[in-house]
């Protein structure tokens, strides 16, 4: 637990110091992300060796205190947060002078990391509300780093995000009114002992979280916001921020919904997940802008998360929990790589449209390779992390014939993602537009964009231990 605590506090301290001492902000935050990566690794090691732990903040008894729970799942998510943040920070440090990234990026991203890490550790309904709000405001501020062109998108994002938090808070108030607990495991015990009709509370919480996580059909704010933000910010938003509410959705539905309500909820998640896959994929295929395409791909990919959640609730099979979180990890890595590489190519080649990428395989082969490799995982090509997640999803599905209609949906989603990735790759292999003879984009940012894509393919080698950690 000590390591996890340090992994939350270190970025927080770095953010405060970066605000005081602005000249060193970039280096301070970068160092803090690297150290928090080590700390998160140590926390995972601690969990695997000594078993799960929990901490009552302030040392008060359960219920009075906010509780943190460190188990394999939260340790993995903590590690994911630290890893993506350190990758994005390294990338931003390597190119921020060229990209004109504002110095305000550093304290904001450090605050984001701290809030997200706290969210993954906490199991307290009201503490989640405060972290959600922190996450939302930090995300909107980060989107605003793009300046004028991001104003409309940020405005919409902020208003919807505030409405979503209020829905969530109303649901929490209803639950507290019934049971008097904010601690999720204790609340689960109270609900199982004395079930009352708490449907409305759960639906309100679900609506709020689905809006925050941009799950179809409440995704309307995402493409504009993620596409308008600077590339490192888009990577953080798509890879991490939407996963926070998704994690909460999983925790709340798996623990607080009784068996009957879980089945009803599973239908919602199965239907919206299917729609997300198809509609998101179709929109990604249709858009002429590169970053909008990647953003719609997030909408589509979150559909897999919804399907896994729905199947877990429907069939109560732990295999789907594994699928859900392997998907979360794989998507985070792949999307980081895609956004960083696309952003880097847009910066050097100039232009927002897909046509910018004509011939990119010759002008910026490394970045284009990153997009293709990460795209492989998004499609689910073996042996990438995306493939492992999808395999984990499909394998148990074969045995449940009543849900056969999901198979063509997943197939359609896969084909659509293959189509939009290949659309980009084919363009890149076209004859290049002539570039200036001294065109020599820096290699370091491109390597840093490629790194997460390589990691997601290596995820397959770690899938054995991943499955065993997420199995319980």
């Amino acid at each position: 637990m000590n390591f996890a605590l340090a992994a939350v506090l270190l970025p927080l301290l770095a953010a405060v110091l970066a605000l005081c001492w602005r000249r060193q902000a970039a280096r301070l935050v970068w160092l803090s992300t690297l150290f928090s990566l080590l700390l998160a690794l140590a926390a995972l090691w601690q969990v695997v060796t000594f078993g799960p732990a929990s901490m009552q903040l302030g040392g008060w008894q359960t219920g009075l205190a906010i509780r943190w729970q460190l188990n394999e799942l939260s340790a993995l998510l903590l590690l994911m947060t630290a890893l993506i943040h350190s990758l994005v920070a390294s990338y931003s440090l390597s190119q921020w002078r060229d990209a004109g990234l504002s110095a305000d990026f550093w304290p904001l991203s450090a605050l984001l990391q701290s809030a997200l890490s706290s969210l993954f550790l906490s199991v307290d309904l009201f503490n989640w509300y405060v972290t959600l709000e922190l996450l939302g405001l930090a995300a909107v501020a980060l989107v605003l780093l793009s300046g004028k062109k991001a104003l409309q998108a940020a405005m919409r994002y902020l208003l919807l995000s505030l409405a979503a938090s209020l829905c969530y808070l109303l649901g929490v108030a209803l639950l507290y009114g019934h049971y008097g607990w904010l601690d999720v495991p204790q609340l689960a015990v109270a609900i199982s002992e004395e079930p009352v009709d708490h449907r409305l509370a759960l639906w309100l919480i679900t609506a709020g979280l689905m809006l925050k996580a941009a799950l179809w059909p409440l995704h309307v704010w995402l493409p504009a916001a993620h596409a308008a933000a600077p590339a490192p910010v888009s990577a953080l938003l798509s890879a991490l921020v939407v996963k926070g509410p998704l994690f909460m959705l999983y925790m709340i539905w798996s623990q607080l919904a009784g068996p009957e309500l879980a089945v009803t909820g599973s239908w919602l998640f199965l239907l919206t997940g299917s729609m997300a896959l198809v509609v998101g994929g179709w929109s990604a295929l249709r858009t002429p802008y590169a970053k909008v395409m990647v953003a719609y791909s997030t909408v589509a990919q979150l559909g897999y998360g919804l399907l896994a959640l729905g199947l877990m609730l429907h069939l109560t099979d732990p295999a789907f929990t594994q699928a859900l979180f392997i998907f979360v990890l794989a998507h985070a890595l792949a999307k980081t790589s895609t956004f960083l590489a696309v952003g880097e190519m847009q910066l050097r080649l100039g232009g927002k449209r897909l046509s910018t990428f004509r011939g990119a395989s010759q002008t910026m082969p490394l970045a284009m390779f990153a997009v293709a490799v990460a795209g492989g995982s998004l499609i689910g090509l073996p042996p990438s992390g995306g493939f492992v997640a999808k395999w984990q999803l499909l394998l148990p599905l074969w045995q449940h014939s009543q849900l056969w209609w999901l198979l063509p949906v997943i197939l359609a989603g896969t084909l659509l993602s293959a189509a939009y990735i290949f659309r980009l790759v084919v363009l890149a292999f076209n004859r290049a537009k002539p570039v200036r003879p001294d065109f020599a984009p820096a290699l370091l940012p491109q390597w840093l964009a490629l790194l997460p894509a390589l990691l997601v393919w290596m995820l397959a080698f770690a899938s054995g231990s991943l499955l065993s950690w997420l199995g319980g």
Partner: protein, 90 residues
């Protein structure tokens, strides 16, 4: 009808009015006011629920206080954003 029930019903009404203002608008400023009304409804629910015991539930009161500060922060941010958006489009 008890005091608690009466104020809970008022809160339900406030939430609906806030929702209406949020989706109808039309001005951005009014949507933000509507969000604040929805917030007021949630806080009223919490304060009323706290009043069910004697003495009132101080834990819930503390949560509302936290919520109030969060709400005013978010409102300030949103209003600045609105002012800038409007001055850009004007």
């Amino acid at each position: 009808m008890s005091l608690v029930h009466w104020y809970l019903l008022i809160a339900a009404g406030l939430w609906g009015i806030g929702c209406y203002g949020l989706i109808r608008g039309p001005e951005l400023l009014r949507r933000i006011i509507a969000l604040n009304l929805m917030g007021a409804a949630v806080f009223l629910v919490m304060v009323t629920l706290a009043a069910r015991t004697d003495p009132a539930d101080g834990v819930l009161h503390a949560l509302v206080l936290t919520g109030l500060v969060v709400a005013v922060s978010a409102t300030a941010f949103a209003l600045a954003l609105v002012a800038r958006t409007l001055s850009e489009s004007a």
